[in-house]
């Protein structure tokens, strides 16, 4: 296997969790809710996913448990911000802290255990094609799911009536409400979807990426996913670009260090963030196709 192929495979595994979480959060923010609890939901997904997989012996059960854990946290967030109209920023941050602590509690009995990583697709002949084979046909289910999610969300938001309503609610909640669209219900479903994606992303970390559990293993990826949503101007295709740009630069700097490139390692570690900022500046100049949803972060209370 050539070095480039090996690098590409590592880039894909590094970018997938960011992409899945970013797509989920993109839907949430398109509906007008700012969910800062992605990190907490992700780490809960990782803990519960791993715990369920160990307890049941099945990766599929672990994946379902991870998604369910993310959704459960999202349910709490939804109740706080949509039913009680609490401040969305504060609620999200509180959920992050809760998630980090609760996941440590749930995962405490599972530290030091390991599983086999999720099996990768093996299509025999197709997977053996040099270079393209393993990269395109030899990934695990999460990677294909991440692209399916990106494509599916793009189709949903721009080609379906329900997606149009969701975007309208995100742009101007008062007008949407006046037209009779169910603002709270739509946002609730969006929040649950976002939580499920964050949980799925966490489950990927503990079931496929590094198949064990240690407290805090997400190491800030939830925050990076949040930043990627803004980077992507709330457009799914740009979210893919952003996730892979960040992942690629993160991995390339590791390979560069291994090859002995003489650049200070602290600068190398900062490179993914610098690259993302640079690209953001570059694409912001061009005709701005994406803006923040108009009602992002504003609580909706119909009778006030």
């Amino acid at each position: 296997m050539s070095l480039v192929e090996a690098m590409l495979l590592t880039v894909i595994t590094a970018s997938t969790p960011l992409l899945i979480a970013a797509i989920g959060e993109l839907v949430v923010e398109r509906s007008g809710v700012l969910n800062l609890g992605v990190e907490g939901m992700m780490v809960m997904g990782a803990a519960c996913g791993f715990a369920a997989a160990i307890a049941s012996g099945s990766t599929a059960v672990g994946i379902v448990a991870g998604i369910a854990a993310g959704m459960a946290m999202a349910l709490a967030f939804g109740v706080m911000t949509l039913v009680f109209a609490a401040n969305q920023v504060a609620s999200g941050l509180a959920l992050t802290i809760l998630g980090l602590g609760l996941s440590g509690l749930i995962g405490a009995g599972f530290v030091g255990l390991r599983r086999d990583p999720m099996p990768k697709l093996d299509l025999g002949g197709l997977t053996d094609i040099p270079f393209l084979g393993p990269v395109v046909f030899g990934q695990d289910a999460f990677v294909y799911a991440s692209f399916a999610l990106a494509g599916g969300v793009a189709w949903f938001l721009w080609r379906t009536r329900a997606g149009l309503k969701l975007r309208a609610i995100g742009e101007n909640q008062a007008s949407a409400h006046a037209l009779g669209h169910p603002v709270i219900r739509t946002r609730f479903l969006a929040v649950l979807f976002g939580g499920g994606c964050a949980g799925l992303s966490g489950a990927y970390l503990s079931l496929a990426y590094t198949p064990f559990w240690v407290t805090g293993m997400t190491a800030g990826r939830g925050w990076i996913a949040l930043a990627l949503v803004v980077f992507s101007s709330w457009l799914p295709f740009r979210a893919v670009v952003g996730a892979y740009l960040f992942g690629a630069v993160s991995i390339l700097q590791l390979y560069a260090q291994g090859a002995g490139v003489d650049v200070p390692s602290q600068l190398m570690s900062a490179l993914p963030y610098l690259a993302t900022i640079a690209v953001l500046v570059a694409i912001s100049g061009a005709r701005a196709r994406g803006r923040a949803p108009g009602s992002l972060g504003i609580p909706f209370v119909p009778d006030r």
Binding site: G112, L113, A219, L254, A259
Partner: protein, 364 residues
């Protein structure tokens, strides 16, 4: 519905404080008898690495001296101003002996120690002391030397992959000791170093391990805290060394050994000293000889390599060989230690240069 006005708040606060005071009375009566010991951890107890080993030692201390001490801990304390608040909180909770387990807690510990001269403080991996502030650490580099020897024997490609965290003297001396050990077996041994700039990020450590293995290394050593690299090495059929704790479960056919931190003996000794009134501020830098540093069983290697490692361990243990005995030549050619002389502790503590044979440049 009760209105949320000042009267209600004051009533509630008064009731709450009264309840706390009542609950606290029996607690005060008991606390006077047992020595309360507090621990401040930089990471989570579940990291299966640095903090995990401190927690294991704390539990051993509690178990060994259950009638005489009452231990507690605070985990995930960030290194910085918040640490001071946590340490003071432990003092005010009645702890008379406090262990702060990371280099970054140094300033906070010094400050709080000054304010409370009758409380004893112990700072791990630091260098500032006071009458009521002692320091302790482990000569982990001794273990690195043995690992280097094993790596040189076991590696077929002659290249070691080293996952390093931050360019501080402790990490640099670890790399140098490792390479000195490797060079004693194979003078042409090479090392590839990746600085991940974090003590703990399993994903990044796994990626770094993949990058090193892809670029020709076949033995992985790490100075980071999670078992991710060991797991990657296991998947790829390479060899690796565990760090801080025995990671054999993550690589049953992969782990050669691990440098394990065993703080329990030290903690028990210091707790006994406080109770007996003989505690003084000391600087303990224990290695293989004192039991602070323990090597995990040598596995997955031929018998002659195992014998060599055990023999080296014995010479370090009984003091007949000291790691960093010359000749030690710096990367730029200057002599750090002549043949037969041992590098002084101060040099090791402040080490910011590579030895000859490490072909990379050290990040500043």
């Amino acid at each position: 519905m009760t209105t949320f006005d000042r009267r209600t708040v004051l009533k509630g606060a008064g009731l709450g404080l009264g309840g706390l005071a009542l609950a606290g009375v029996p607690g005060f009566a008991q606390a006077a008898e047992k020595l309360k010991i507090g621990f401040v951890y930089v990471g989570p107890v579940g990291d299966f690495g640095w903090t995990y080993q401190h927690e294991v030692a704390r539990q051993a201390l509690q178990k060994a001296m259950d009638a005489e001490v009452e231990t507690s801990y605070v985990e995930n304390v960030p290194e910085g101003p918040d640490a001071e608040r946590v340490i003071e909180g432990l003092v005010r909770a009645g702890n008379k002996l406090i262990f702060t387990t990371s280099f970054g807690f140094m300033e906070a510990t010094v400050k709080v120690a000054k304010k409370y001269p009758d409380v004893k403080f112990e700072h791990c991996t630091g260098y500032k002391r006071a009458d009521n502030l002692a320091t302790y650490s482990g000569r982990f580099y001794e273990g690195r030397y043995i690992c280097g020897q094993i790596a040189a024997k076991v590696s077929k490609s002659g290249v070691v992959g080293y996952i390093a965290s931050f360019p501080i003297p402790e990490v640099v001396s670890g790399i140098n000791a490792f390479m000195l050990g490797a060079q004693s077996v194979n003078p042409d041994m090479k090392v590839k170093i990746i600085w991940v700039n974090t003590w703990f990020d399993p994903g990044k450590e796994a990626d770094a391990a993949k990058a090193l293995l892809d670029q020709g290394a076949d033995v992985i050593a790490q100075h980071t805290d999670s078992p991710a690299a060991m797991q990657v090495a296991a998947e790829r059929g390479a060899h690796a060394f565990g760090q801080d704790s025995d990671m054999i479960k993550f690589g049953p056919k992969t782990q050669l050994s691990a440098i394990v931190n065993d703080w329990s003996g030290y903690y028990i000794e210091r707790a006994k000293a406080v109770i007996a009134g003989t505690w003084t501020s000391t600087d303990t830098w224990g290695g293989l000889d004192s039991g602070l540093v323990v090597m995990a069983p040598y596995t997955n290697m031929p018998d002659d390599v195992k014998a060599m490692a055990t023999a080296t361990q014995k010479t370090i243990h009984d003091g007949s060989y000291k790691v960093f005995t010359g000749p030690v030549v710096k990367q730029d050619g200057t002599i750090a230690a002549k043949a037969g002389e041992v590098l002084p502790d101060g040099e090791i503590l402040g080490m910011n240069w590579y030895i000859k044979g490490v072909d990379e440049s050290l990040p500043k």
